[in-house]
């Protein structure tokens, strides 16, 4: 099956500023795809290029097999939920949602029915007659969604749709958006700077820095097998230890400062990374501190607790080990009946070769 959306060698310049660099991207029908990256990396620009609000300086874009060069935004099979939601404040909720149907040849009654259905779909049944400028942030967002989805686009583009909402509302809307996407079967492209949001919601994530896509993978691969230090640092927490890689017939062996030698499991070997100096990444939850009397079959290293941060469900320990400047950050679940270690306690840190993520230095 060919991709619904194809981007080939897309570049975008704003004057001298190179905002998008050689973007190659294929997105399948029905996929929930996220563009994740820090503010200013070009996510919105890429989304606007797909929507037809920016013309690429170079490269081609096609949607559903149709080249989009010269096709204006109003003729593309895409709809957008803007970061500011772009609700029309002089219209009612129903008029906002029905805005895109104005050229629709269906009868007035049919269109009113479609508006009603769309409002119910986003949980705003009965809000139709309200004035749009009096809505709350969450309600505006739902109106923006209904307004776009009522047109049954091939692709729905969402520019940081949840960033203006408070935490509770955001988590609620994440789940609702995922449900909605499954229900309507429309391809979603979500722009976000929130890595958790991208990991939770997406089938695939593209991580962007400086106008480039650095890695494109499913959330699990992005999290457990980041390809570069930048991606690893941006997605969640990661400890970095200096090390050396030795590539041989048996596989790749890492010599990690403070931990010693270990074989990297074949599925963890970062493609394109050969012998030589490297940085070894370790996720906090792939390590463990050992409590008094606890034993393990994993490898261990002596350390001292340097800092304790208690989160309720989790405790984050900074543990100093010999031969490394920075303490290791370790995440531990707070199990019932287990004490929190105090600062200064001597402990052991458990790890194994599956904790190691070899990265270019």
């Amino acid at each position: 099956m060919t991709a619904l959306i194809q981007l080939r060698g897309i570049n975008k310049y704003f004057g001298d500023y190179h905002a998008l660099r050689d973007i190659d991207l294929e997105i399948k029908q029905g996929e929930f795809f996220s563009l994740l990256g820090p503010s200013g990396c070009g996510k919105t620009t890429l989304l606007r290029t797909i929507a037809g609000f920016e013309d690429p300086s170079a490269g081609t874009l096609s949607i559903d097999g149709r080249p989009m060069a010269g096709v204006p935004a109003n003729k593309r099979p895409t709809n957008m939920v803007f970061q500011s939601y772009a609700i029309f404040p002089h219209l009612t909720v129903a008029e906002n949602v029905g805005f895109g149907l104005r050229r629709d040849p269906r009868s007035k009654a049919e269109k009113a029915g479609a508006v009603k259905d769309a409002l119910e779909m986003v949980g705003l049944g009965g809000y139709g007659a309200r004035s749009a400028h009096a809505l709350s942030g969450g309600q505006r967002q739902r109106v923006a969604l209904a307004r776009a989805l009522i047109l049954k686009p091939k692709v729905l583009l969402l520019d940081e749709p949840l960033s203006a909402l408070d935490r509770k509302m955001r988590e609620l809307m994440q789940v609702e958006l995922m449900k909605l996407q499954r229900q309507v079967g429309i391809t979603f492209i979500l722009v976000t700077h929130d890595q958790e949001e991208a990991l939770v919601m997406s089938d695939r994530v593209a991580v962007m820095f400086d106008g480039q896509i650095r890695q494109m993978d499913d959330p699990e691969a992005i999290y457990t097998r980041p390809r570069s230090r930048e991606v690893a640092a941006f997605i969640g927490k990661m400890n970095f230890l200096p090390g050396t890689l030795h590539s041989s017939g048996e596989g790749v062996e890492a010599d990690v400062a403070g931990l010693g030698r270990a074989m990297i499991p074949p599925d963890r070997v970062t493609p394109g990374l050969g012998s030589g100096p490297a940085v070894i990444g370790l996720r906090p939850e792939s390590l463990a501190v050992l409590f008094e009397g606890e034993t393990t079959t994993r490898r261990t290293v002596e350390g001292t607790v340097d800092e304790v941060v208690y989160y309720g469900d989790m405790t984050y320990y900074d543990v100093r080990i010999a031969g490394v400047d920075e303490p290791l950050n370790i995440a531990m679940k707070n199990l019932v009946g287990r004490d929190v270690l105090e600062v200064g306690t001597a402990t052991r840190v458990a790890w194994d070769e599956r904790s190691l993520v070899p990265l270019a230095p």
Binding site: N74, N79, Q83, A86, F99, R147, L151
Partner: protein, 270 residues
């Protein structure tokens, strides 16, 4: 004495200084005497009746209304174009051009009047008419229109227009269906203010009217006849009342525009 009291007294004195002469207008307009002096001699509406019967004045008022209406429309149209260009993305020389467009706001009117007269008569060899006044008044009023409309356009979320385009409208369709309704309060306010400025503008009109004077020019002519002074007072009273009403409507629309866009009042133009 506290600083607040001093400020209060200052404000009261300032307002008296500002408005006392205007308050004199209706007092003498309704006074039953030819001489403008206290004590008042009784209530009369005969100066207003004298206004009514004056055909030359009628013509002057007609000229002025026509000129003011055309000026309001032209300067508002130009203002919409300029404000929209200003609200859109940067283009080369944007700030320089916008600065130049706003220049007539601070140029002395007498200089505009003299230079326009020279250009129209000596260079272009045109006959002076209502249209020469309209052209000059448009020049004068456009910066005010731009200032008002700039506020209206800049308060507008740029993604609103793109939102309409995203939902199937052409650029023009999006402008008409969402941008125009949202800046309409600014447009009404610009029309009214340009109308008011043009209606009572004297210097430029004095230089550029042909054989048919505008109302302020006609009033100036009346001043040579002392017995006509109360008539001028009556006319002035009507003008003040009209100006206040127009400016109040303009301000009402400007505020409504802000409220619609969900914004706080940030001083504004008036």
């Amino acid at each position: 004495m506290s600083g607040g009291r001093i400020l209060g007294i200052y404000a009261v004195l300032y307002l008296i200084f500002l408005y006392a002469p205007i308050v004199l207008l209706p007092i003498f307009a309704f006074n039953d005497a030819t001489i403008i002096a206290f004590p008042l001699s009784g209530f009369s509406t005969r100066w207003f009746e004298a206004l009514w019967g004056n055909a030359a004045l009628g013509d002057a008022v007609g000229n002025s209304l026509f000129i003011a209406a055309m000026t309001a429309i032209l300067s508002t149209l130009l203002g919409i174009c300029a404000a929209r260009a200003g609200a859109m993305a940067d283009f080369p020389g944007k700030s320089g051009i916008l600065g130049f467009v706003m220049l007539p706001l601070v140029l002395p009117e007498i200089i505009i009047a003299v230079s326009l007269l020279i250009v129209l008569r000596q260079v272009l060899d045109m006959q002076l008419s209502n249209w020469t006044v309209i052209a000059a008044h448009t020049l004068l009023c456009t910066p005010f229109s731009i200032a008002i409309l700039n506020g209206a356009f800049q308060n507008l979320d740029p993604s609103i227009e793109e939102g309409a385009m995203d939902l199937g409208e052409s650029r023009w369709g999006a402008f008409c269906s969402v941008v125009l309704p949202l800046v309409m309060p600014g447009i009404v306010s610009s029309l009214l203010i340009a109308f008011t400025i043009s209606l009572d503008e004297f210097i430029i009109a004095f230089f550029l009217t042909g054989s048919n004077p505008t109302m302020p020019v006609y009033i100036w002519g009346l001043l040579r006849f002392p017995q006509q002074l109360p008539v001028v007072m009556a006319l002035g009273t009507i003008l003040v009342a009209l100006s206040i009403v127009l400016l109040a409507i303009a301000e009402f629309y400007r505020r409504r525009g802000l409220a619609r866009a969900g914004l706080k009042d940030s001083g504004g133009f008036l």
